[in-house]
Symmetry: none
Subunit: 477 residues, 2 copies
């Protein structure tokens, strides 16, 4: 992404770019071969020639004095060296990723190792995060893999340039919160992150942060998969005791789907009930519909315009795969999903504070929005949001794609009856053995029934209060 | 237009860029010749000719101690050095590319080693409303003609597909209002229209309509030319007795100019004082800043999103000449200037009425926005706004262009002293004979002095009331 600003003006030699990508790929492989000394030296060298775009600026990731870094290296042990290597790999992968994006922006097709520019291959309809033919395809609108084993999440970490949530990080979360890590962490449902260590640093130094997650209300009913980020976010809210904002992107769904504004807003309110039923604390949680909040908060709109000024169409095209035939609403929408990452979008909660760090738990298909956000943040004087990425919830038909609200048979809906669950599950053929099916049904039926019971208790008044811009039970001066 | 987002980040002169590219080219050649040391030295040298664009600033990228960098290099072995060189070359080539991109963005042409900047290419970003070489160029940002007689407005009517305001229409306005037509009608200052007869039909059938005009607050001071639509709009408000909304597009100016949000909003408030000084009725007029009203009216944002869903980037490109390098804020902005054409953007005035016809008096360079609006209106179930188009107020230097707030000598500002008016006018050389100049000064000095006196009476409280969303003295059920 970060290279796009330069290539946006369009006249790069695609061959030079092709060669840069090949060279950078070489480098990533070399790094993965694990030459720590070389990694550090390379990083120092790159620091002096790096393209200068913040997301590449190694200097920010280095101790202030490169010399002392090398000194420290020899003093410090194996684990430190490992950490440098990890950092170096992350950064190198970031660079590779942005080169590929630039390549796509310049050439109009994904980079293919065996296919130099000039021998065009059919264009995929996704952004550069979409993968080469035969590999996984992941963007905010499509998740598809040819492998029956499902998405290769390790590859995704490499391609997206995020970091793996390893045992070390999970242990640190346990130490910081004094709580047993949530099963979604222990079992790798949340498997990837950006800057989580920075959030923990802040937390350990008693600096405040806040949580931001969201939901695109594409239908009245949510399914099991939708609950995952919310179940985990509720746990984060409980163990860290921080404010939480939840964005319902009804404007996005109006722009992308064949819905009226009233339908989209109606879905937002219905979905809010399912979200509230996860048990969020009304004194610590603000849920908002874009269609409603945009017209209720000048501060929110001001951040949207700030972001929109700092992202070009070429960048949006490179990140999201937009085309000239897309409506201008889609093209500018990413700024609206980005804006809640900045605390002064919510003056009723944070006063005029612009520096409260944001942590975003979300499924990894939402990462492109926040890579864009993280690239813009320093250019408009805000901290980058940190992220925790979850895997997708496999469709009933198999792991090749995720549960989708638009395909009833792919999903177990929170509105399904016990009988529907039984039937749907059996309809999925060879996915499970009879015993497993039976066990699954026994788990799902009560789980869904309990959720439905909690949801019944969520009155319109409660929803209204959650969705009213107001101070939460935290004091920011 | 397209390069504003980049240039605002720094202040590189085209020549500095040109030199940086030359130096960087040298460096790449040196690297390819394997002279790593020379490359490092060149890199340090480049710091001093660095173009200053944030994303290029080598200073930001150099390790704190370049000496230790070289020291570290000698520590490691030959293969490492080879690897550094490869990386150094990759990054240097990337940098060279990005400098060339920035050069193209700043200068409008590709970098040519043998051709320093100074003969910039003619502006190439006009849509179909822009004219072929030798003809008039008219779009919302540029008005230019080669003819000393000024813009050929009859040709413009043909090209824009509007209708001439003829004697018949002027007579009909006189019959309908029982008032002598305003001198701007009699003298052809307002010379073109769309659907004005439809507005008069409605008026004669006692159906309500409303007026909408606006101002892009690009500077604190307005000039004479800016007053024309407002003087005429005030007359329309008086003779038709209808509600009036005035949009201050401070968000547009933030997106297009090198301004902060606060500056843009500040200009909006200052300009509002000049507009109020034209004598608008506070009970019949609502003035709003986009940055403020977007965050104060869900109905307004909902119309913006509706319009954004129905305009593709291709259409926006065709109408406004946007390029892929334009920021996504510019690309989606036209929907924000379109939205006030629909009465339900102002529920405080029109309740939930969607069918109150809108009449827009404006200078004809704003027509592209409203051609787009009229194209979208029926597709989202709203009536098309009608328009009355004015000519441009010629610059003091001559009729080839219009008065511009950005060029002090082109304009008589409402803040000018009698002495400034005298001096500026004489400076304009052959424009008028001495007698005419004398007469003009005699007209202008008191006119401006009176305006300044009226403006003094416009208190912050009065501005605040004009800019508060509220019911006007009309009842819409």
């Amino acid at each position: 992404m970060a290279d796009v600003p330069k290539l946006e003006q369009g006249c790069a030699s695609s061959l030079e770019l092709f060669n840069s990508i090949a060279a950078q790929g070489e480098r990533v492989r070399a790094l993965k071969a694990g030459k720590a000394l070389k990694a550090v030296v390379l990083r120092v060298l790159l620091c002096s020639v790096c393209c200068g775009i913040e997301t590449h600026c190694y200097k920010k990731q280095l101790p202030t004095d490169a010399g002392s870094l090398l000194g420290n290296r020899s003093e410090s042990g194996h684990s430190d060296r490992k950490q440098w290597l990890t950092d170096e790999i992350d950064s190198a992968v970031q660079m590779l990723l942005s080169l590929k994006m630039s390549y796509k922006a310049a050439v109009g097709e994904d980079y293919k190792a065996d296919c130099p520019p000039g021998n065009p291959a059919p264009r995929g309809d996704g952004g550069p995060d979409a993968t080469e033919a035969g590999e996984d395809f992941v963007d905010p609108w499509t998740v598809q893999t040819s492998s029956a084993k499902g998405i290769d999440y390790d590859k995704l970490i490499v391609r997206f340039g995020s970091s793996k949530i390893d045992k070390e990080l999970i242990n640190r979360i346990e130490r910081a919160t004094g709580q047993r890590p949530h099963r979604f962490l222990r079992r790798g449902v949340f498997f990837s992150h950006r800057d989580m260590n920075q959030v923990l640093d802040a937390y350990e130094n008693k600096k405040p942060f806040y949580l931001y997650t969201g939901r695109g209300p594409s239908s009245e009913a949510m399914h099991l998969g939708h609950l995952i980020p919310f179940i985990f976010t509720k746990w984060l809210q409980d163990v860290f005791n921080v404010p939480l904002v939840i964005q319902m992107t009804d404007d996005e769904k109006y722009l992308w789907k064949d819905l009226t504004l009233d339908q989209a807003y109606g879905y937002a309110v219905e979905n809010a009930k399912d979200i509230i039923a996860c048990g969020f604390d009304i004194n610590k949680t603000f849920i908002f519909s874009d269609l409603e909040y945009m017209g209720a908060s000048p501060s929110f709109y001001k951040n949207v315009v700030k972001i929109q000024k700092h992202v070009t169409f070429n960048q949006a095209k490179g990140i999201f795969g937009f085309t000239d035939s897309d409506c201008i609403g889609k093209i500018s929408f990413p700024a609206i999903q980005a804006a809640p990452s900045f605390s002064n979008s919510f003056p009723q909660i944070f006063q005029d504070k612009t520096d409260v760090q944001c942590l975003i738990p979300c499924a990894i298909d939402q990462d492109p929005y926040f890579r864009m956000t993280r690239d813009v943040a320093p250019r408009i004087g805000y901290p980058k949001p940190a992220l925790l990425h979850s895997t997708f919830f496999p469709a009933l038909q198999g792991a090749q794609t995720k549960m989708s609200a638009s395909d009833p048979n792919s999903s177990i809906f929170l509105t399904d009856t016990a009988k529907q669950i039984k039937t749907k599950d059996y309809s999925s053929g060879a996915m499970l053995t009879g015993e497993l099916k039976k066990a699954l049904i026994e788990v799902l039926q009560p789980l869904i029934a309990e959720h439905q019971a909690r949801r019944k208790e969520v009155t319109d008044e409660i929803v209204k209060e959650f969705m009213t811009p107001r101070k939460l039970s935290y004091d920011f001066q």
